[in-house]
């Protein structure tokens, strides 16, 4: 199994406050790593750092075999074709001043894809997230939360990245819509073989979508391992606390 994304002892400080206390993980090709924790656990910070959208104070991030923070500007630009982001808020995930088509075109241009293929690609991408081509002409405010989020996903997979960093990508959606988007993620993973770094505060979602799990509590990785193992036999009290909250809901 090859590792597409890994971190070694990542530390991040804001002045005197330490957001991440030496976090490490390894994400295998085609698998999903669920990163779970409450607000303030540092999970979003970690997500930004592994995409080099934020600096780190010490530690390493490896994208495949490349030391992400040692790459030159030019190499970084190319590396960005291998890891993409699906953000949280569907209302702001797309540029509101541009149509869906233009939003996608911007991505295609940034990723270095040939202009002549843009029109076909844009249509194809929407198809992959089950949206009809008509939606190319829509403005983001005309889309529902779930639809906007699917366009954001289409944008992220435009150039078939190896890793998708999903930062609370379903948290702002209604439960019924959440199911559709989670299905979309699963389908794309099986058709494209993309690995996912799936950040969420919702244990039920993480339990469903991830192979492995990393539990963060105030910047420290308190537990990690195969999802099934960790959640059926949690070792850390914090994990147990999260699980208790989860199980009281499934009184159904």
């Amino acid at each position: 199994m090859s590792t597409v994304l890994s971190a070694e002892n990542v530390v991040k400080r804001y002045g005197s406050f330490t957001a991440l206390h030496g976090v490490s993980f390894a994400l295998e090709k085609g698998k999903t790593l669920g990163v779970v924790g409450e607000s303030g656990s540092g999970k979003s910070t970690l997500g930004r750092i592994v995409m080099r959208l934020m600096t780190l104070d010490s530690g390493k991030v490896l994208l495949g075999d490349d030391d992400l923070f040692a790459l030159s500007r030019a190499d970084l630009r190319v590396a960005r074709r291998r890891i993409q982001l699906v953000p949280q808020d569907p209302r702001h995930a797309l540029n509101p001043a541009m149509t869906v088509k233009d939003n996608l075109f911007f991505q295609l241009r940034a990723q270095g894809i040939a202009r002549s293929t843009w029109n076909a690609k844009a249509e194809e991408l929407l198809g992959q997230v089950s949206l009809p081509a008509d939606y190319l002409h829509a403005y983001p405010h005309e889309l529902s939360g779930g639809q906007a989020q699917r366009v954001a996903i289409a944008r992220a997979i435009a150039n078939k990245p190896e890793v998708l960093v999903c930062d609370e990508a379903v948290s702002a959606l209604d439960k019924s819509v959440q199911a559709q988007v989670l299905n979309t993620f699963a389908e794309l993973q099986s058709s494209l073989g993309v690995a996912m770094f799936f950040i969420s505060h919702d244990l039920a979602v993480v339990e469903h979508i991830s192979d492995d799990v990393l539990v963060l509590n105030r910047g420290t990785a308190v537990e990690s391992g195969k999802t099934r193992d960790v959640l059926s036999n949690p070792q850390d009290p914090y994990t147990r606390e999260l699980l208790e909250a989860r199980h009281s809901v499934s009184a159904l």
């Binding site: 409450e38 607000s39 303030g40 529902s144 939360g145 209604d174 439960k175 019924s176 819509v177 959440q178 199911a179 559709q180 989670l182 299905n183 699963a186 389908e187 993973q189 099986s190 505060h201 919702d202 244990l203 039920a204 979602v205 339990e207 469903h208 979508i209 999802t227 099934r228 959640l231 606390e241 999260l242 909250a245 989860r246 009281s248 809901v249 499934s250 009184a251 159904l252």
Partner: protein, 332 residues
Amino acid sequence: MSATTNLPTTPRGAELPPGVPLVLDATSVSVSFRGKGSRYNTVVDSVGLGLEQSQVTVLLGESGSGKTVFARSITGMAPRGARVAGAAVFSGQNLLELNGRELRKVQGNRIGMVPQDPNASLDPMRRVGGQIIETLMQHGKAASKTAAKARMLELLELVHIHEPERVAHCYPHEVSGGMRQRIAIAIAICCDPELIVADEPSSALDASVGVRVVQLLDDLRERLNTAILFITHDIGIAALIASKPNDRVAVMLGGRIVELGFAHQVLRNPKHPYTRALLAAEPSADVARGSLAVVPDEVRTQRNWGPLLEVEPGHAVASLIENPTDQKGGLA
């Protein structure tokens, strides 16, 4: 779906045991907003609901179902530009007919609101304790400032805030999201209201924190004997708050209630295709990835639901109308 009895079209569905007083009795409430030109868009379509003391009624539905507009309208807080028809009787007064001043005497005092975003009920510029004291004094619930302060600390403890003195001294931004929501609840209950309307109180919080907030509300309604109207899109949370046998769930879709019954009926034995789909859409490890049930589009955009018809005692469901012009019949 066969109807065992046809009830008259007051879509409350269940026959109530005689003599149970209703805290709020909403009948035939319709809310519409101005659309393009002179057309009006109906957001809530002739909905009725009766809320009892100490009972939780869950309004379950997704964004756009009309649940928030309905709940706000029946408590006299319809959004600007809304046209509201129908009646919402609270202690003998129809809230839809009261003027601003009379409404203000009721709101905050006898009806408490817990909004989704606690920032809506908390003033960022004032310390937490001060805000609660002010509400108490405003509604004449405390004889003096000292009494108000004591009551305020009591309230903070009631909502499980462990260091009430310290927290009372903080500004809203200095405490966590979960704590802000508890403070919002403290403000909502400070005047001992007969009804609490909670609009997605856990949605903006982390799952685990949200669960604790919901459990708090459940605990409080028993202690204070308040009725709770709880709005959510999350069926798991609905199950959590509707913990007592008398609690009910009303499923809203497209501005109408499509299923109504006791919680254990609706959540364990749902009859409406939409409710069934919601239940099946819950993510869990037991469902294979990519196979989470999805609400079929025909169901979600369907507007031809008929009146609620009883399918078992206390449990009513709306059926599809074959011929939209034939409003009285349902599917046999």
